[in-house]
């Protein structure tokens, strides 16, 4: 049409090769939606910078486990004197291993995922704006919704993209640490502690479901990056500070910690990894069931909000 070759000539008709194959079901559109979102985010240098920062924590754990193993085999019981100070490497290793929990126990993986929280929050705030907020802000939804798929598939696609990022930052590195520990110490680790794999996956699933829904809801609501980051920060940082002040400062009921959503995921994650209440610090914590209920309630609220907004897409768009 616009080609010079076509101008002036008799109008040619569209010639499509007849489609004889079966159309893929609408659910198959979920992955193209997710992939589009992932590619958009992966094109941004800011994302790679943040991801590199998040990998610092992983590398600390990765090389920490490796160094501890090396120290344990190399240093043994020997005593090292540095100036006037005599150091017992064995004791040092023990303290570091217990402190940092680089001992391949449930606490290792729970703590790792917990420490990743800040980076997860920042990356997701960025992802939320790019993946979903822009669709609403610029009115791109009609392109999606004019294709043979429903709002449910659109949400699933965007949710899948968010889930990939969450798991890239948390579950997958935690599983890598589990594998590394087994390779360094003993193959028995894989069989004896297989429950840890299930625990990591369950923890990842809790994070994926709750954070994805919260992110989708806040992104649909706020649309822009800066307000999204501010709200996200308020949800996860200010609420945390507030909970700490109320429980540790004013000595109120530990249930006040339930307003800290990341702490809730930490408690539920600990339960997934079969950790008892004694493994939590600070010790004054609500029960993990209560934390799970709060997360469930927030997720349902977010889901309801999303359903409402997508039904009103003609107004949003």
């Amino acid at each position: 049409m616009g080609d010079s070759s076509g101008r002036g000539a008799a109008p040619e008709l569209l010639h499509y090769r007849p489609w004889k194959g079966a159309f893929r079901p609408p659910i198959a559109a979920v992955w193209p939606i997710a992939r589009t979102g992932l590619l958009m985010l992966l094109r941004r240098r800011l994302f790679w910078g943040l991801y590199a920062l998040s990998m610092m924590i992983f590398l600390m754990y990765f090389f920490g486990q490796y160094l501890l193993a090396w120290f344990q085999t190399q240093a043994g019981e020997s005593r090292v004197v540095v100036g006037l100070l005599a150091i017992h490497p064995g004791e040092l290793i023990e303290i570091l291993a217990d402190k940092l929990k680089l001992n391949g126990s449930a606490a290792t993986y729970r703590n790792y995922i917990h420490y990743q929280g800040y980076m997860v929050m920042i990356v997701l705030a960025l992802a939320g704006s790019v993946l979903i907020g822009n669709d609403f802000r610029y009115g791109s939804l009609p392109f999606y919704l004019s294709k043979p798929l429903s709002r449910r598939h659109y949400l699933l696609g965007k949710g899948l993209a968010v889930a990939v990022f969450i798991n890239l930052l948390t579950t997958l590195p935690a599983l890598a640490l589990f594998v590394e520990y087994g390779l360094i110490y003993s193959w028995d680790h894989f069989t004896r502690n297989s429950y840890l794999v299930a625990g990591i996956l369950a923890y990842g699933a809790v994070l994926t479901v709750s954070l994805t829904l919260i992110l989708l809801a806040t992104a649909v609501w706020l649309r822009r990056t800066v307000p999204l980051i501010m709200t996200w920060t308020a949800l996860f940082l200010l609420c945390r500070q507030l909970a700490t002040s109320l429980v540790d400062g004013l000595h109120l009921d530990p249930r006040w910690r339930l307003i800290d959503l990341w702490n809730n995921t930490w408690l539920v994650g600990g339960a997934c990894l079969q950790m008892g209440p004694e493994a939590f610090d600070p010790a004054s914590q609500p029960r993990w069931v209560e934390a799970a209920l709060v997360l469930g309630g927030v997720s349902v609220a977010c889901l309801s909000y999303l359903a409402l907004r997508l039904r009103a897409v003609e107004i949003v768009g």
Binding site: M1, P11, L13, L14, F23, A29, P32, M40, G139, P148
Partner: protein
Amino acid sequence: MSELSSIAAAGGGNRGVEKEFSRDPKGSAKTSGRSRDPARQLLPTPVLLCQRVSKWYGPVIGVNQVTLELRPGITGLVGSNGAGKSTLMRLITGHVRPDIGRVEVLGRDAWSAAAKRHIGYCPEVDSFYEEMSGRQFIETMARLSGYTSGEARRRTGAVLERVGMSGRAERRLRGYSKGMRQRIKLAQAMLHDPELLVLDEPLSGIDPVGRAEFISLFRDLADQGKCLLVSSHELDELQKLTDHVAVMARGRIAAVGSVAQIRDRLDDHPLTVRVDVARTTEEGGKDRRRELAGALLRLPDVVGVELLDDAPGEEDVGRLLVRARNPRTFFQDLTRLVLEEWFEVRRLQTLDESAEAVLGYLLGGRG
């Protein structure tokens, strides 16, 4: 609405005009648009069928009991901003569900995925993922349509070629002009070879050469048996594309047919106009209302004049209800009469909203 009920949608639905629109017992408007294939027009199932469709946005009604039936060909949809064009298009493309009524595309609920396989939608917005190239965008849309990756690539190439974008498809969307964006939008609407193409302001922002190409393409598609619904707020623009238009006003289909037919029917149907005139001049004297009534009755297009009761507290204003044919001539005559005889007209109101809208369009104003 009563006076123009034979050409305008009046609650119960649209009514067709003359031979182009076969009328069913329910009074729906059937239009075959511009199609050169008579066999296509006799398809048992219409491509698009809207049955008494209404849509509210809270207390505001977006589309009000619209009944419309489209068969292959090009149909224009005109109306001013806020007339309900976009809402009707969203209802047709399954973006929103009607609160009342039903929209069917080839017999399937427009809301369903099965119906969407037969709909190509070119929305007015041109917001894309700016980092993507044109080709990537179309290919993604093809994947969303349910094609395998190989078929999606093939179709993307074909449709880009067809809209004249194959040479510029690798550029990022960010750098596209308005016209190029329109082409890309059209490409994504056409790529799955839909039976029904719903195009919202497709010619906006396109240069004259591109516009001619687009019009040629639309006609080709209509000749292939496709059904095109093309919206615009410029009647002149649509007239270059098709002679079959539906005029929307205040959420209703005010008229359906060719512009000439609508004009003719408007001329045939008495229009009801309320005229409020000062009873006396500054010098006093005769009852100016009766004078105006007499003068109006002498006009060739006036069918009748009714003297209305005075409104309480407004005894100085006389009210008339005038029924006239051929509105264009009538309004010209009325203007001349008022100026020559110095009637002090306080108010002039067309009582049929749809007629007013159609008139607004056909006489060059707003609906």
